[in-house]
């Protein structure tokens, strides 16, 4: 882990763009030119969905990896943002949708989801860490049942359809290529923001709180305030993901933020690895690939296509058993083993 950038000891320090590793550029070029090789389905369904789920899982990773708080309410916050955009903006349910301009609808949606996330955080952080999972799961299911039964605001079981992104600059943002760039942009923005913040005082303090809350209090930090603030930031990420998710399928319903999807976000974050912001995106990509092609794989093995959940569950168990740090953990151990002195076994990075 790189430490805080300080003024160099008399040496001229390289400018920021010289310090970016080469493979970043390579990946960047591949990502930006993807529409050249990939078809509409891959762009929209595979990459688009991966970027969206990645952003929502990133919000969980931020809380869990940097803050030590595993929140199962991230999908709920995302769903709330999606609902708000449908309610304040345009949808096919004209009786409820307000039809306000996109900039108002989106801002309100994000504001409300951040507010909601902050309250969830405040409820969840004042107890011991292990309760967070329970409390957030209970809140997530409350939201699911409530939206399913409430017809006045949330239109109950059917939810909202016809929720489309605004036609900015004359572009239909649900067109596969445009959508790809839209989700890519937000995925990159979320990723780099989290990476940057992790080394800012706020991020460092959060990690300190994760490692030793008592010590942080004895250093002058208001531990509860930091944790709640972390939830607020994470809610912003989840909200953005939720709005994109709603636009992708052009609809939102109680099942979108149900208990299954809420747990799936945790599964994605854990499979990818909670140590680094790239983990959620790796996990999301694997999940999307599995979900898209698992049916065919299962059938070729002679099992019914509906046994997808079984596959996911078993895969998840395998990962938690053998590599609790997810794919990133496997990668780390692989790198360590390569750097290790074959004779003495020393080297690599002990962590």
């Amino acid at each position: 882990m790189a430490t805080i950038d300080t003024h160099g000891n008399g040496l001229s320090s390289p400018s920021w763009f010289e310090r970016i590793p080469a493979y970043y550029y390579f990946i960047g070029i591949v990502l930006i030119s993807m529409p050249v090789f990939a078809g509409d389905f891959v762009l929209f369904q595979i990459f688009g969905w991966s970027f969206i789920l990645g952003v929502i899982s990133l919000s969980l990773m931020f809380l869990a990896g940097y803050g030590g708080m595993v929140s199962l309410a991230q999908m709920t916050i995302a769903g709330l943002a999606g609902y708000m955009v449908a309610i304040f903006g345009n949808s096919a349910i004209e009786t409820i949708s307000q039809g306000w301009p996109w900039y108002i609808a989106i801002s309100l949606a994000l504001l409300i989801s951040v507010l909601f996330g902050t309250i969830v955080g405040w409820l969840a952080v004042r107890t011991e860490g292990i309760y967070t999972i329970m409390i957030t799961l209970a809140i997530a299911s409350a939201f699911f049942y409530f939206t399913r039964q409430n017809y006045v605001i949330f239109n109950g079981f059917s939810g909202f359809n016809g929720v489309l992104p605004p036609r900015l600059f004359g572009i239909d943002w649900r067109h596969p290529i445009a959508f790809y760039y839209l989700t890519l942009f937000w995925a990159l923005a979320a990723y780099f923001t989290v990476v940057y913040i992790s080394r800012a005082p706020f991020g460092l303090a959060l990690q300190g709180v994760r490692d030793n809350a008592r010590r942080m209090a004895a250093l002058g930090y208001n531990v509860t305030a930091h944790r709640v603030a972390a939830y607020s930031f994470a809610s912003l990420l989840a909200g953005i993901g939720g709005i994109l998710l709603t636009w992708q399928s052009a609809q939102i319903s109680p099942g979108t933020a149900g208990i299954g999807p809420a747990i799936d976000i945790l599964v994605i974050a854990v499979i990818g690895g909670l140590r680094h912001p790239i983990g959620p995106f790796i996990g999301a990509f694997i999940y999307v690939l599995l979900k898209t092609f698992a049916t065919d794989v299962l059938i070729s093995f002679g099992l019914a296509g509906e046994r997808f959940q079984l596959l996911i569950g078993l895969g998840f168990l395998v990962i938690v058993f053998w590599s609790p740090d997810g794919i990133l953990g496997l990668w780390q151990r692989f790198q360590d083993s390569r750097n290790r002195d074959p004779l003495t076994g020393r080297g690599g990075r002990e962590l």
């Binding site: 882990m1 430490t3 805080i4 950038d5 300080t6 003024h7 940057y196 913040i197 080394r199 800012a200 005082p201 706020f202 460092l204 303090a205 990690q207 300190g208 490692d211 030793n212 008592r214 010590r215 942080m216 209090a217 004895a218 250093l219 002058g220 930090y221 208001n222 531990v223 930091h226 603030a229 002990e350 962590l351």
Partner: protein, 264 residues
């Protein structure tokens, strides 16, 4: 030695009067009275040692003063202000600091990160989302502190890779962050080699005159060398108070702790 840069820690109280004043402080855990009827007055800049056998309540006393937990009875005043019900972070922001008997450090972060966190905790910008820029004041004071405790060459090493002695040095550095007015040192010499102990005594005696401290120690050599007054505790109560020489010669103290012939 220069004091660390004063940050915006709020200085309450007029500084005159007592740095620390405990009246009737007690702490009860279920049926166990860990502390009873503690009355203690420490002047600003005073250097005091708290001695006593294991279980005498010394660390519990510290925990009550810093707010790691709340005292069951009594009041605690810090520079004239009643901090008895303040949460820990409020007390720290008023200039109180402490080290722990078993180092509580952030093992996954580097030495500089740890000190930076300590300095940041008592300054503004705790919630800042921006990375520190080149001339950041907090970063400067962190670097100064790291140099002051001779950890400059390992400043980017992860704490988990440090030696025990280095970790204890880091604890001290963190206690000196910001503009401390009073520090509580909980057995800082435990497990240190003789050279390291000498360095510790040097650091303690060279602290600025206005910074008072209380040191808990088992090592009499260190304690009696750096303290100008001694409080002896036994079974959660204060047993005797006086100057180091008086305490050393006191027959009751000798019977209880020094085995009658100085410590071995």
């Amino acid at each position: 030695m220069n004091a660390p840069l004063p940050n915006s820690s709020r200085m309450r109280g007029n500084g005159a009067g007592n740095a620390l004043e405990l009246r009737g402080v007690g702490k009860v855990f279920g049926a166990l009275a860990a502390l009873s009827d503690i009355n203690m007055t420490v002047k600003p800049g005073e250097r005091r040692a708290v001695l006593g056998s294991n279980g005498a309540g010394k660390t519990t006393l510290f925990n009550c003063i810093t707010g790691d937990f709340y005292a069951t009875t009594g009041t605690i005043r810090f520079f004239g202000e009643d901090i008895s019900v303040f949460p820990a972070y409020e007390r720290i922001r008023r200039g109180l600091r402490r080290t722990y008997q078993i180092s509580l450090l952030f093992t996954a972060l580097s030495v500089l990160d740890n000190v930076y966190l300590a300095c940041n905790g008592v300054s503004r910008g705790r919630f800042s989302f921006r990375r520190p820029r080149r001339n950041d004041a907090v970063m400067d004071s962190a670097e100064t502190l790291v140099r002051m405790v001779h950890l400059d060459d390992v400043r980017d090493t992860l704490v988990s890779d440090l030696s025990y002695g280095q970790q204890r040095q880091l604890e001290i550095a963190m206690a000196l962050s910001g503009a401390p007015r009073f520090i509580l040192f909980d057995e800082p010499a435990a497990g240190l080699s003789p050279t390291e102990r000498r360095e510790l005594v040097e650091i303690l005696t060279n602290l600025p005159g206005h910074v008072g401290y209380i040191i808990i120690e088992h090592d009499m050599e260190v304690a009696l060398r750096v303290a100008e007054s001694v409080t002896m505790m036994h079974n959660g109560r204060i047993f005797k108070e006086g100057k180091p020489a008086e305490i050393e010669d006191d027959p009751e103290v000798q019977a209880l702790y020094l085995g009658g012939e100085g410590h071995g």
